[in-house]
């Protein structure tokens, strides 16, 4: 071979490498026909009920989008890991998705405490994280560029909404407020105070330990202040005790219950003193309407179509299933808005600009320059142990992070 041909071969080789490098310069997890999303939720263990069907709902939404042609010619490829609702397994799942599966973005997390544990890693590695149904206040305030969540409702907004309902619906000026003396309690109280001030109402706060067994002292104190509405922001067991004690102390006014981590309302009525104690009780709900209503029928129809075998089983779909939809919708809308030249930066910018009605939740899914918490509103359902009656309208929390 002559010198000329050697030079030609070398030039050809360099050009080929340059072409290859250009291909490498494309974003992680993105190819011309696929975008890879890393999903995680508790799929096994005692908390599986918080995650399995939520993740299924998100996936069925991705499947629908894929069937309709994908986004900018790209099909959504979901890689799924089980986080078992604890910090260790969740962080391990996230690392695996980012480092081994090379995903473009993460869409996962049903358990607040666990998901917050991954925030350091996610921010350091600049991977977008769109939570599933976790409220995740610890990772959303103060806002950072990479993490979006609270598609069910943030802990802050739960408190603010409950106070808004008490103040607006009952015209209450004296509101009794019972929360826990932990981080979650501090968060919901923060927004509750803001809302009360805005409405010109006074809050009488009792912060109790989640392990409390005797609620007499805080309840007697509240009763002495003669409240017009009692707002309960606790776990199911203390809530039942409080409702019971309220009745024992002769309180007959409205009670608003925003219970964390409960699905069993009938058990709560049994624990709380029976239908007699539930004559004036309102339950906070973050879906757009009553679970059995016509407005949400499409969600359950979609689930039945996507998972016919599961849907025929007892206890399916799980209670929190619909919450997966607004999260997945946010992912697909942001992918769409980011355009065909897909990068993580464009995706994140698109997320920040989202403002849409999912048709599933009580309020719009809305982010902003300083807001990473999607859903801020709730509806309220009067429940007496037998019938559910929705109070018209939805009640939003006005507090925003400064």
């Amino acid at each position: 071979m002559g010198m000329r041909s050697v030079r030609a071969a070398l030039l050809g080789g360099v050009l080929a490498m340059a072409g290859g490098l250009t291909a490498l310069a494309q974003e992680v997890g993105v190819t011309p026909d696929r975008v890879r999303i890393g999903m995680f939720a508790p799929l096994s263990g005692p908390s599986a009920a918080y995650g399995q069907d939520v993740l299924n709902a998100a996936r069925m939404w991705f499947d629908k989008i894929n069937r309709e042609g994908g986004i900018h010619g790209r099909q959504i490829e979901a890689v799924v890991e089980d986080d078992r609702c604890n910090a260790n397994d969740l962080v391990a799942a996230v690392k695996k998705l980012v480092e081994q599966s090379n995903v473009f973005a993460l869409n996962g997390g049903s358990c607040s405490a666990a998901v917050v544990a991954a925030s350091d890693y996610v921010v350091r590695n600049r991977v977008p994280l769109v939570m599933l149904n976790a409220s995740g206040d610890g990772a959303l305030f103060p806002p950072n560029d990479y993490i979006y969540g609270a598609f069910s409702i943030s802990q802050h907004a739960a408190g603010g909404s409950a106070v808004e309902f008490a103040a607006r619906h009952f015209n209450a000026r004296r509101i009794a407020y019972v929360n826990h003396d932990d981080a979650y309690g501090a968060w919901n109280l923060n927004a509750a105070k803001f809302q009360a001030e805005r409405r010109g109402a006074g809050l009488n706060v009792q912060s109790i330990s989640p392990n409390i067994t005797d609620v007499t002292a805080p309840m007697v104190r509240l009763r002495a202040a003669n409240p017009e509405v009692l707002v309960i922001m606790t776990y199911a067991r203390p809530a039942a005790l409080i409702i019971r004690k309220a009745m024992e102390l002769g309180y007959r006014g409205p009670i608003v219950v925003a219970v964390n981590a409960t699905a069993d309302l009938r058990q709560m009525v049994a624990n709380g003193g029976g239908p007699e104690a539930f004559r004036n009780v309102y339950i906070q709900e973050v879906l757009a309407d009553l679970p059995g209503s016509a407005r949400l029928q499409w969600v359950y129809d979609m689930y039945r179509q996507a998972y016919p075998q599961l849907a025929s089983q007892e206890g399916r779909p799980q209670v929190y299933m619909p919450y997966g939809l607004p999260s997945a919708m946010s992912v697909t809308r942001a992918l769409e808005a980011a355009g065909p030249e897909l990068t993580r930066e464009k995706f994140l910018a698109a997320l920040q600009g989202l403002d849409f009605d999912s048709g599933v939740m009580a309020g719009p899914i809305r982010f902003g320059p300083r807001n990473r918490a999607a859903q801020q509103a709730a509806i309220y359902i009067k429940y007496d142990g037998a019938t559910m009656e929705r109070v018209p309208g939805s009640f939003a929390s006005d507090w925003r992070f400064e």
């Binding site: 003396d181 009792q206 912060s207 109790i208 330990s209 392990n211 409390i212 067994t213 005797d214 007499t216 002292a217 805080p218 007697v220 104190r221 002495a224 199911a236 067991r237 039942a240 005790l241 019971r244 024992e248 102390l249 002769g250 069993d264 058990q267 049994a270 624990n271 003193g273």
Partner: protein, 300 residues
């Protein structure tokens, strides 16, 4: 705070404090009687208490048995379980590894075992309410609001305490138990049946714990964590004097009343801290406890 509200809070605090205090007192009694005779602080006492309630619940939920069958069955079950643990495990540990530390570890193991067992049955998945034999109709005492159930709790607890007191101080069996606690070597040499006495004390402790569990269960909603109340019972025992049965009772009432008064006059979040503050105060001012006699030093 005006004087009317102050007076109301005082009455309510003391009344409610006596109710919860009587349950702490019973559980503290159960702990102290074991400690007095075998020098073992039983860290499974709360779980025994919890299992007694769940055993009763199990019979009610899965077999639909009436209360007059369920209650004796649950009591018997707890007594048998405690005696089985003492005879089957504790004795072996004592024989093999004599030191008290290992016995304490054995009781810790028992607490984990019991909690796991209850979780396995699935009954612990959601907080459960226990049917009450006595109505929860409100009863007003002065300005304080209690319920009929509360009165029944106090009444029964006091009766049990009196029975235990009589047993320990006025019967032969009680004397043997006290002697064993004071001087095991001498007890052996005067022919007291050590094994039987230990078994009896554990069984009695189980009985008292089970009674306190069945008393309080209708009031507090059952979860596998309800054994936490044992921490308060330990606090009560420390305050009253860990070697003193009347001390345990006094300590129980003190902790119960203190908790309620703090909750009313300070804040609800301070309630949890109260028992520990009480412990610290006692350890600093009078380490042997209020009724603990003279502070004892022992060669180790």
């Amino acid at each position: 705070m005006d004087s009317e509200v102050l007076f109301l809070f005082l009455q309510q605090g003391i009344a409610s404090g006596i109710v919860s205090g009587s349950v702490y007192a019973l559980l503290a009694l159960a702990i102290v009687m074991i400690f007095k005779t075998s020098e073992v602080p039983n860290f499974a006492q709360g779980e025994v208490f919890m299992v007694a309630a769940y055993a009763a619940l199990f019979l009610i939920v899965f077999y639909g048995l009436p209360m007059w069958v369920v209650i004796p069955a649950a009591l018997l079950f707890t007594v048998a379980g405690m005696m089985l643990f003492e005879a089957g495990i504790l004795r072996r540990v004592k024989k093999a590894l004599g030191e008290p530390v290992n016995l304490v570890i054995a009781t810790l193991g028992l607490s984990f075992l019991l909690r796991g067992l209850v979780r396995q049955t699935g009954l612990g998945d959601t907080p459960r309410s226990f049917p009450s034999l006595v109505s929860t109709d409100p009863v007003q005492i002065g300005q304080a609001m209690l319920t009929r159930l509360d009165l029944a709790i106090v009444g029964t607890a006091v009766a049990v305490m009196a029975a235990v007191f009589l047993l320990f101080n006025f019967t032969r069996a009680g004397r043997a138990m006290r002697a064993l606690g004071m001087n095991p070597k001498a007890a052996a040499l005067v022919g007291i049946d050590i094994r039987r006495t230990h078994a009896f004390v554990w069984g009695l402790s189980g009985l008292v714990s089970a009674i306190s569990a069945l008393l309080i269960a209708p009031k507090i909603l059952m979860t596998p964590e309800m054994g936490h109340v044992a921490i308060l019972a330990f606090a009560a025992a420390i305050v009253g004097g860990f070697n003193s049965l009347p001390g345990a009772v006094l300590g129980g009432f003190i902790i119960g009343i203190a908790e309620n008064l703090v909750g009313l006059f300070v804040s609800a979040s301070a309630i949890v801290v109260t028992p520990f503050l009480a412990i610290m105060a006692v350890l600093v001012l009078r380490p042997q406890g209020l009724l603990g006699g003279r502070p004892q030093m022992r060669k180790v």
